[in-house]
């Protein structure tokens, strides 16, 4: 990465941190307490932002997996890996904050209804995707099998979305929202979108840097290294 790349990365992270600070300040000082639910409704901002950005990151992984199967370019494999890490992280945040919210609202931590169950399955699928990448595979097969796994895992994403949209009674709902709440929600969505974009791109760059370092250290390709395809060289 050249000097301009590093400067752009720093500016991006500075913007992301500023957005997160603004979002947090809005939750503390700007959003009024809900007249019915009280202060617990403030939890919705981080929960919803994490949940929506989980689905966006799943779409990034899905697109990277499709692109890998099409082009057999290891850069798509690295992007899929970076995206899946962020999916697992964000989905975990959404699940835990949802459980805290449920405990205060329903009086229990968990309920086996469709939105929650499909969300848990989503987390398990992408955690399995990351574990699958660490298993020993025949040479050149890891990326191919991971891409196929990722495409199958994405089938759960519409189920999560549709179960939340079509069965609102089985999920914690917010009802009528004040303007301040909507504005704060938009800032949170943007802040977590920037954060997840930064995490994916930094993880991707790190993988590219370390793989380039390994390639220069070991000039001879190892048995597990896949030879570069003509498209990748081009």
């Amino acid at each position: 990465m050249n000097r301009y790349g590093t400067t752009i990365l720093r500016a991006y992270w500075l913007l992301t941190l500023s957005l997160l600070a603004a979002a947090l300040a809005m939750v503390i000082w700007y959003v009024p307490d809900d007249p019915q639910s009280g202060p617990i409704l403030r939890i919705v901002h981080i929960h919803l932002a994490a949940a929506i950005n989980t689905l966006i990151a799943c779409t990034v992984v899905f697109a990277a997996n499709i692109a890998y199967l099409w082009q057999r370019d290891n850069r798509w494999d690295a992007l899929g890996d970076a995206g899946a890490r962020v999916v697992v992280l964000l989905c975990f945040v959404a699940l835990v904050t949802g459980m805290l919210w449920a405990k205060q609202t329903w009086g229990r931590w968990w309920e086996w209804n469709s939105p929650l169950t499909f969300s848990l399955i989503l987390w398990l699928l992408y955690a399995g995707y990351l574990l699958h990448r660490r298993l020993p595979h025949p040479p050149g097969r890891r990326a191919m099998r991971s891409a196929a796994f990722g495409i199958v895992a994405f089938l759960d994403v519409p189920l999560v979305y549709l179960s939340v949209r079509m069965l609102p009674d089985s999920h914690l709902s917010v009802g009528e929202r004040a303007t301040e709440t909507v504005q704060t929600q938009i800032v949170w969505l943007l802040a977590v979108l920037f954060l997840s974009g930064g995490l994916i791109s930094t993880r991707y760059l790190l993988t590219r840097l370390t793989s380039a370092g390994d390639a220069s250290t070991h000039a001879q390709p190892g048995p597990t290294q896949r030879p570069a395809s003509p498209r990748m060289i081009a």
């Binding site: 617990i40 992280l89 945040v93 995490l199 993880r203 790190l206």
Partner: protein, 50 residues
Amino acid sequence: MNDTAVVIIAYTFGLTLLLGYAASLLIRHAQALRHQSPPPPIAHQNNPDS
């Protein structure tokens, strides 16, 4: 438990996890960049006057 305490726990948990991961990635990225960059030239190398 008090609602406000639960909200504080939720935000502390979420932000610590996300920003902690971001910090670890940025540190490792900076280390990888430093490792990759060529060593600085040594002054007076092969200079018989030094």
